[in-house]
């Protein structure tokens, strides 16, 4: 296992640091609103919140470039947003509206966006991993320097798809960054209760690829680790497995009564919350004032408010279009 870069002062310019803080705030405020809207029945279906894990998406996605491919899971609101899918389109999707990023057909679990090469939004645990290997294979065969970043939780590691995809990627030296967000629970089943080997990097190493574990509650650690990992992949050295050790503050979905973990454990992890720890660090280093923080927060809240208004006002897709796009229009046959 490659050791993550040592932590110290935030090694970034003030603007970049604030940008990442702002993105974490955007996710947090958007999702807090989503939970509220779920209570109001504006958002239906499954809603899996990312609250607590924001440093993972923000830190890693800022180490990628627009031409890279992103494959994510059903807990992907944050990834979509940081990747550049507009909050309006995400919110409208949650509402099931036509102007949603998947025309209201996908909902919370299936956010897609061709423009930002955001390939969902996969609600079959582990389902995105073979897909990511395929993207990377296409890029390799077409001599593209692109990285495919594939996000998944530690639950996916129990799936056969994980092992098959890891093997393919390593065997064919494919440019995939496997980014495992280990939040310790596969829905309600703790890692140690479901997997014999709980050292996830050890499992990935078995496929002959380099691995690294980063503190997923620390956006600096995640970003610096991802930069190293991305460099490895982009240099054509094959896949890389990055584990971000994190924690989900909210329930698995809105239906989850959380019988499987102690409140004390949740509280303990909240002490390490990525937003307040990072903003405290920036303040201590003179890169952020309380006023500046409040400004960013107000901006994030305004964006959320606008997104909700957009989603409310957006039209529903016409039922006449129900069968549209089962197949591609103009198919040759």
């Amino acid at each position: 296992m490659i050791q993550p870069p040592p932590s110290g002062p935030v090694p970034w310019e003030q603007d970049f640091a604030r940008k990442l803080l702002f993105d974490m705030l955007r996710i947090r405020r958007m999702e807090e609103k989503c939970a509220e809207l779920y209570g109001e029945q504006k958002i239906r279906g499954f809603l899996h919140l990312y609250i607590g894990e924001e440093a993972c998406a923000v830190g890693s996605l800022h180490a990628l470039v627009p031409d890279d491919n992103i494959v994510a899971t059903y807990r992907e609101h944050g990834h979509a947003l940081v990747r550049g899918v507009s909050m309006n389109a995400i919110m409208a999707e949650m509402f099931g509206k036509r102007d949603g990023c998947s025309r209201g057909r996908g909902g919370s679990m299936h956010l897609f966006d061709a423009a930002t090469r955001f390939y969902g939004g996969n609600a079959i645990v582990g389902g995105g991993l073979p897909l990511a290997a395929g993207f990377a294979l296409a890029d390799k065969l077409q001599n593209k320097q692109r990285v495919t970043a594939c996000f998944f939780g530690e639950g996916a590691i129990a799936e056969g798809a994980f092992h098959e995809a890891m093997n393919l990627a390593a065997l064919w030296q494919l440019p995939v960054l496997f980014c495992c967000e280990n939040n310790l629970y596969a829905m309600g089943t703790a890692l140690a209760r479901s997997q014999a080997q709980t050292d996830l990097c050890a499992k990935a190493s078995a496929y002959g690829m380099p691995t690294m574990a980063a503190d997923g509650m620390d956006v600096v650690a995640v970003h610096e680790a991802t930069k190293l990992a991305v460099r490895h992949v982009r240099d054509g050295l094959g896949p890389f497995f990055l584990e971000c050790r994190t924690y989900r503050f909210r329930a698995h979905s809105m239906f989850d009564p959380e019988l499987y973990r102690d409140k004390a454990e949740v509280e303990q992890w909240k002490q390490r919350g990525p937003l307040h720890t990072f903003s405290a660090r920036l303040k201590a280093e003179g890169k952020l004032t309380e006023d500046a923080f409040l400004d960013l927060d107000a901006k994030a809240n305004a964006e959320v408010q606008a997104a909700v208004a957009f989603a409310e006002a957006a039209p529903w897709e016409s039922i006449e279009d129900l069968l549209k796009d089962v197949h591609t229009p103009g198919a040759t046959s």
Partner: protein, 323 residues
């Protein structure tokens, strides 16, 4: 020119690989081994290991990778050894390949061609002999083809590859050694059924490995003065109900021959379409000849008894006509 089904498949793939650098072949033993059914013999030497890609025994993984590669701009032909093994990849086919375009609001097409062998008749028992075409034909978002002639084996791949959506091609394992004349023009579409034999007394509807048996039955019936029309579905999804119903309206009787099990079969769907669209044109109840509802057994006589055979088809028609 006389050609085997195997050779027709091989030539179709060869042509595609030679014509389009985006096309590549991936699957178990497609390279060094030359293909389980020798359909890619010599390809590895000619096109190299990047484009003729031997995979590990990871159906879920490499079918999923095929979907990703299709999304990434290539035109993969993914070969799964048999339909029984494809069950290991069913998640990727149903939950991703078939659903992606609609689920993403029309943003992504998946131009994937998935080939697999299907069917019984070689004493391979219950894990290598099944006909699960109807499972795939149930799924919106994919097209399902069953080439049953040399011309279709040669001609169907090109339109399948040109199709922007996932296409699953079933090659009945009993057909690989079939030899027929390859017509000069084998180019074809993948939208319609074909009338393989014209007749007036009864319509026999079938597909894939049951076509030769059905044509043989029609010949035998002709000897007894019964003039049967034989329709080859060719395309199992979407079903070409128009061709079926036009024939049934003419002959007023139909028997469906399907190597799948009867319950929930493709035959059931075909019969339902006829009932919906041509019920008042029928002079007799519809009938079907399907596989017996058992896992296909190993012993030769037992396997034969489990499958639709020419004699059973003939008997079903005679019973229907009361002759």
């Amino acid at each position: 020119m006389k050609m085997s089904y195997r050779e027709a498949i091989r030539q179709a793939m060869h042509e595609a690989l030679a014509a389009d650098p985006r096309v590549f072949l991936m699957g178990e033993d497609v390279g060094k081994y030359g293909g389980t059914y020798a359909c890619s013999k010599g390809f590895l030497e000619e096109f190299g290991p990047e484009r003729i890609r031997d995979t590990p025994l990871s159906e879920l993984g490499f079918v999923g990778a095929g979907i990703g590669a299709a999304l990434g701009g290539l035109r993969p032909i993914v070969e799964v050894m048999t339909v029984n093994f494809s069950l290991l990849a069913l998640d990727q086919i149903v939950n991703t390949a078939a659903a992606l375009r609609h689920m993403s609001g029309g943003q992504f097409s998946v131009p994937l061609v998935l080939r697999m062998a299907t069917g019984a008749g070689r004493q391979l028992a219950a894990q290598h002999s099944h006909s699960l075409e109807n499972w795939y034909a149930h799924i919106p978002g994919i097209k399902v083809l069953a080439p049953a002639t040399i011309a279709d084996a040669r001609g169907m791949l090109a339109p399948a590859l040109a199709d922007p959506d996932p296409v699953v091609i079933f090659e009945h394992a009993q057909l690989y050694n079939l030899e027929e004349e390859l017509p000069e023009d084998f180019h074809c579409g993948i939208a319609s059924a074909a009338v393989r034999r014209e007749g007036s007394a009864v319509t026999l509807i079938t597909y894939g490995g049951s076509l030769p048996k059905t044509l043989a039955a029609a010949e035998e019936l002709a000897g007894g003065g019964i003039d049967a029309e034989v329709i080859d579905l060719r395309v199992l999804r979407p079903l070409d109900a128009a061709t079926l119903c036009a024939s049934v309206k003419k002959t007023r009787r139909a028997v469906v021959i399907d190597e799948g099990w009867r319950s929930g079969s493709l035959a059931a769907e075909v019969m339902a379409r006829i009932v919906e669209e041509a019920f008042f044109d029928l002079d007799a109840p519809l009938r079907r000849v399907c596989s017996e509802e058992v896992p296909i057994p190993y012993a030769k006589h037992m396997e034969e008894a489990a499958l639709p055979q020419t004699s059973r088809i003939v008997a079903a028609v005679r019973e229907l006509l009361g002759t």
